[in-house]
């Protein structure tokens, strides 16, 4: 496997993530998109770690995983609360702060 292919895979993964975040109407899937983007970053980190002598890339990757876990936990919790409060999980319908025209 050539290193370029790995970078291309990471870019593809990131694009899929951002597309999910932008296009999907459901918050859950947007959260999934975010995870995908984080993982795309992880792939890049792992790849660049393998190019150098020091393990700082791997360290970052571990950090990112931890952050991703935290993020997923907090995000899901917010989502649950929002669902309880607004009886919906669609961000378009949560428009409390939106200016009415």
């Amino acid at each position: 496997m050539s290193p370029d292919a790995l970078l291309y895979f990471a870019a593809w993964l990131f694009c899929v993530g951002i597309c999910l975040v932008i296009v999907k109407r459901n918050t859950l899937l947007m959260l999934v998109g975010t995870e995908l983007m984080l993982n795309a970053a992880n792939v890049n980190l792992v790849y660049f770690n393998s190019q150098g002598s020091q393990p700082d890339g791997a360290m970052f990757a571990v950090f990112v995983i931890v952050v991703a876990v935290c993020e997923a936990a907090v995000g899901l919790a917010i989502m649950m609360r929002a669902y309880h409060f607004y009886q919906t999980s669609l961000p378009d319908q949560i428009s409390e702060l939106r200016e009415r025209i």
Partner: protein
């Protein structure tokens, strides 16, 4: 002292009226109290007569002034005014006394005596007034109180109409007289009678204007209708004001100022006196209403007095004024007894009056009116006839005398000798008898002259110090004429009650209709024209102006809304549209924010790389 008595007899009736008005409306006391006051006034008038008979006094005070022009008021006492004052007070006292009985069943006692008091006081005011403006004041007050008294039975529409028309007729004369007085004041610079006396005669126009006032007050033609219509008032009132005093005020006034009147005016006045005397006599001759007969006879006698005052001597006219007041008041009061007890005014339906308490006064009054010897009327009437020298006034005075004789005979026939109708049971009660008896005594010669055939006996000597009147050729002619015509008339009316060929006294010989068509109707028409002008001419112009204003306002409002405001609106619209289009980016969708952020990031990176 004399002034004080004059003031007393002027103030006491007013004071009486004021005090009487304080009483409750149906008070029994009112009549007695008012009579006491009038009696006191009469007493002071008699005292005044004793005090200053033949001793003229004149006193005057400034009343009001503007700039250099001053109008005075005062008291002018001379023989004429003393006599008139005594007369007014005497008749007023008799009428008060009579009214206590006559009006005892009336509801509004207090107003009645209050009104009588105001009238009596005002009349005294006329008598003593020393300046024309002061005289005019009381002149109008007399009109006013006469209005009140005629309209006393205010629930009777006829009485009310009579009162109003009397007031209005008098007002016409009064206002003409007012302008006459104003003209005299401007012309002569004073209105004081004694000061005017030294300045020669007044202008003819002013004199004619004064004459108009005199004619209205004395019910001369063409004003006579108010007096006959005024017979709707209570009979004692008719006796007081429509026989003895108010209507005589005109004659009294012309006697007082006849020296100021230019000859032309006197001529016109005597002409009017002649016509009035004849018309009034005719009315009395053909009327069947007891009171209207007396009213017409008053008119006729007033015309006679006017002839005497203007073509003869004023003293003679004053004398006749005096005797006429007494015998006419007597006749009215006697007629009042009949009317009061029979409630009938048609002389054909009254029947033969038998009570001597009435027959003697009626006979005496009629005799005095006709002018039979031994009565006061004989002396005064013959004095006037004697004082007339030239042609037509003398002959018309004779004609008036003749008419007087005939209608008096007719009246006496119907009241005392008409056996075709059941005899009424009429008899005056004590309170009525007293004034009737006093007045009856006044009809005798003794009240005027010591000797029944000396015309310039007691009274006339003081009234006219220049002329001396004795029975002359004319006296015997008149006397013969009178007696024969009285007898002939009495016999005629025994056979036939009407005078053929004449009618129409009910509407005052058509004058009522004439005034309605010439006065009332055009006035109403004019007032309608004025009303129309206001509502159809002036107001529409105002409305049109207002509408134009409103239309203009609407137009400028439209300009404001669509032109000026339009520009402002267009500018704001542009701003709003552009703002809205920018807002498309910030619609509150998280994902679009992310998209834009991402795109920007991409663009940024591309820019950095490039």
């Amino acid at each position: 002292m004399a002034i004080r008595f004059a003031l007393f007899s002027f103030m006491l009736p007013f004071a009486g009226a004021l005090i009487v008005t304080m009483l409750p409306q149906n008070s029994r006391m009112a009549g007695r109290l008012a009579t006491v006051f009038t009696g006191a006034a009469m007493l002071s008038s008699i005292l005044l007569a004793f005090q200053s008979w033949m001793n003229p006094t004149h006193i005057h005070w400034p009343w009001f002034q503007t700039g250099i022009t001053q109008w005075s008021a005062g008291i002018l006492i001379n023989t004429g005014s003393i006599l008139m004052n005594v007369l007014v007070m005497f008749i007023s006292f008799c009428v008060h006394l009579y009214s206590i009985s006559y009006m005892k069943n009336e509801r509004m006692q207090v107003s009645y005596y209050g009104r009588l008091g105001i009238f009596t006081g005002s009349m005294t005011g006329i008598v003593f007034s020393s300046s024309l403006i002061q005289l005019f004041l009381f002149w109008e007050l007399v009109s006013f109180s006469s209005f009140l008294l005629i309209g006393y039975w205010s629930e009777n529409p006829r009485a009310v109409r009579a009162a109003t028309s009397a007031f209005f007729m008098n007002q016409i004369g009064d206002l003409l007289m007012l302008s006459g007085i104003v003209l005299i004041g401007i012309d002569k610079g004073t209105l004081d009678l004694s000061e005017l006396g030294g300045q020669g005669t007044i202008a003819v126009s002013a004199g004619l204007l004064l004459l108009a006032g005199i004619m209205a007050k004395s019910a001369q033609i063409p004003f006579l209708t108010w007096l006959t219509n005024a017979m709707e008032g209570p009979t004692p009132v008719s006796a007081l004001i429509h026989a003895a005093t108010m209507v005589a005020a005109g004659i009294y006034f012309i006697i007082r100022i006849h020296l100021l009147m230019p000859a032309e005016v006197l001529l016109v006045a005597s002409l009017i006196g002649c016509i009035t005397g004849l018309v009034g006599g005719l009315g009395a001759l053909i009327s069947y209403d007891l009171k209207r007969i007396l009213a017409f006879s008053t008119i006729s006698q007033l015309g006679f007095m006017l002839i005497g005052a203007t073509a003869g001597t004023s003293g003679a006219a004053m004398l006749h004024l005096y005797t006429h007041a007494i015998f006419k008041a007597l006749l009215f009061l006697s007629a009042g007894v009949i009317i009061h007890q029979t409630h009938e005014q048609d002389i054909r339906k009254i029947g033969q009056v038998k009570s001597p308490f009435l027959t003697i006064p009626l006979l005496l009054g009629a005799a005095s009116m006709i002018g039979l010897p031994l009565t006061a009327g004989f002396i005064s009437k013959e004095t006037i006839i004697e004082s007339l020298h030239n042609g037509w006034p003398l002959w018309s005075a004779q004609a008036v005398t003749l008419l007087t004789t005939v209608y008096s005979a007719r009246l006496i026939y119907f009241l005392l000798a008409n056996s075709s109708w059941p005899t009424p049971a009429v008899k005056p009660d004590a309170l009525m008898t007293v004034p009737i008896a006093i007045l009856s005594a006044g009809c005798l010669w003794i009240s005027v002259s010591w000797s029944p055939f000396d015309f310039s006996g007691a009274l006339m000597k003081s009234l006219d110090e220049i002329h001396h009147f004795q029975p002359g050729m004319m006296t015997y002619v008149t006397l013969g004429l009178t007696i024969s015509s009285a007898a002939a008339a009495f016999l005629w009316f025994r056979r036939q009650s009407t005078v053929p060929g004449f009618s129409g006294e009910e509407d005052n010989f058509g004058l009522d209709v004439l005034y309605r068509n010439l006065g009332y109707r055009p006035l109403m028409g004019l007032s309608m024209v004025a009303y129309w002008t206001d509502h159809r001419l002036i107001n529409p112009v105002i409305h049109f102006i207002a509408y134009v204003q409103v239309a203009w306002a609407l137009f400028t409002g439209w300009i404001d809304k669509f032109v000026v405001d339009g520009i402002i609106t267009a500018i704001t619209e542009i701003i709003i549209v552009s703002g809205d289009s920018l807002r498309l980016f910030t619609r509150g969708k998280i994902q679009s924010y992310i998209l834009w952020a991402f795109l920007m990031l991409v663009i940024f990176i591309i820019w950095i790389i490039a």
